[in-house]
């Protein structure tokens, strides 16, 4: 099968799937994809990623932000991380792996409908510090960091 047929088929399927999801009310087109912070995810260092994502690169170290991560990750492709931030007006918790080519890994927009702890699994290219950043409604950003040693890098060939 040549490439143009493959792309065409994928396009039709994607189109019909989006229609279904829109029908269920779970997705609002346009508004949805416009929200993804492209510049932040593409930033090559923590400062630029922070500025693009949260509007400012200034953060305050805080014990109220916590990271649970393995001291040594055997498989850099799957590193389990739990981030939590004990603040009243918590807006978001974001996670960065400083030695990744693009440090910003994921950002969670929180609400009062969930508690302030989220777990996920991330890829780390090599031994690195991971930084959790909690933004409160007043625009302040609190952070903490943890060191994770990676024995087998996780970004693939």
């Amino acid at each position: 099968m040549n490439n143009s047929r493959r792309i065409f088929l994928r396009g039709t399927l994607a189109g019909s799937l989006v229609t279904v999801a829109v029908g269920t009310g779970l997705l609002v087109p346009g508004k949805v994809l416009a929200a993804w912070p492209e510049a932040a995810f593409g930033a090559k260092n923590q400062k630029d990623a922070l500025k693009a994502l949260l509007g400012s690169a200034s953060t305050v170290d805080s014990k109220q932000v916590k990271i649970k991560a393995p001291a040594i990750a055997e498989n850099g492709a799957v590193v389990p991380i739990t981030v939590s931030a004990d603040f009243d007006n918590l807006e978001s918790i974001s996670l960065m792996a400083l030695e990744n080519a693009m440090p910003l890994v994921v950002s969670f927009k929180m609400t009062k409908g969930v508690n302030s702890s989220v777990s996920t699994r991330i890829k780390m290219g090599k031994t690195s510090e991971v930084v959790a950043l909690a933004r409160t409604a007043d625009g302040k950003v609190y952070s903490t960091r943890a060191s994770v040693k990676v024995t087998l890098g996780g970004c693939g060939g």
Partner: protein, 105 residues
């Protein structure tokens, strides 16, 4: 497209619903090369995940290429009761989507 799936496990403790979600997705970074052809394998990753509790958005995850393949998320939904609906949906960089919903037991 029946291959795409989202697995959700919900455990209710009082009015806290502990939720574990597994979304099947390659999360291709766009940085890998096909070893035989030398061509870059194009990026294909989930960008946004939405969690809704009885129709209200309670959590949004904005993901990049560094989230592990078959993204896993675990979180706690508050003020939850038996019979409530939890819905998860995602959109990826190619515009593909998937979603599922489950009633809390």
């Amino acid at each position: 497209m029946a291959r795409k799936k989202i697995k959700m496990r919900i455990t209710l403790k009082g009015t806290d619903a502990n939720v574990k979600v597994l979304m099947f997705h390659p999360m291709e970074t766009g940085l890998r090369k096909n070893k035989s052809t030398g061509e870059v394998i194009p990026a294909h990753f989930i960008k946004e995940v939405y969690v809704e509790h009885n129709g209200t958005r309670v959590l949004t995850a904005l993901m990049g290429i560094a989230v592990s393949k078959n993204p896993f998320m675990s979180f706690k939904v508050l003020n939850a009761n038996s019979g409530d609906t939890l819905a998860i949906s995602w959109v990826d960089n190619l515009g593909e989507t998937d979603s599922t919903e489950k009633q809390i037991q």
